[in-house]
Amino acid sequence: MKDKKPKNVFKEGPISSDFIGNSIYKHQTKTSIGAHNIFLGQVRADEIDGKTVTAIEYTAYEDMANQKFHEIRERAFEKFDLTCMHIYHSLGTVKAGEICLFVFVSSPRRKVVFEALEYIVEALKSDVPVFGKEMFEDESHQWKVNS
């Protein structure tokens, strides 16, 4: 199921566990699928110089980001025998413990989903213009850097 034009992968606020459960449910009609692999990014309450992260505020260069997500999708469908792929990323405030990234791939066979999911997550971390601002309990902040 290739899409020809970029979808909007952004959702305002955190991604709920209900949304994820429902997304899994919808795939139960696709009986050629044998394996699903799901990556979830969750905001960590990191302690940095004695202060604790309470939330991350996400902004993005949305048009370019959606275009990059689309290119990653297209490349992944070319490289891997995938039945479905879904990507969602939060914008705005996501509190510690909440989910900010949901990547979902499905295939007839398991080997494919492992390779594809890691490929997609690494590509989106490096290629997609999304910016996280780590908020501390005293309302100071620092800009997140991916490692």
């Binding site: 260069y61 990323h89 997550v121 997609v128 213009p129 991916n146």
Partner: protein, 77 residues
């Protein structure tokens, strides 16, 4: 020509704005950067990439585009 420049994340903190329109003469990205560096104090110490019409470009790239964006390190996910 008229271009739109967009600023994101910590770059927008330096410029104190998220976007602006600028009238510039044709030339390289590096020439536009010289203008911005003299306009915004502290910008030259920041780490960023540049996108022209949503594609990453280098300082040597010729300005063609309607939309330039200054992008600090990506930190999605």
């Amino acid at each position: 020509m008229q271009i739109t420049i967009k600023y994101f994340g910590q770059i927008a903190e330096v410029t104190q704005k998220e976007a602006e329109q600028l009238e510039v003469s044709k030339g390289k990205i590096s020439e536009l950067l010289n203008i911005l560096n003299s306009k915004y104090d502290g910008l030259k110490h920041k780490d960023f990439q540049i996108a022209q019409n949503q594609e990453l470009v280098t300082k040597e790239t010729v300005l063609t585009g309607q939309e330039i964006a200054l992008l600090p390190p990506f930190s999605g996910g």
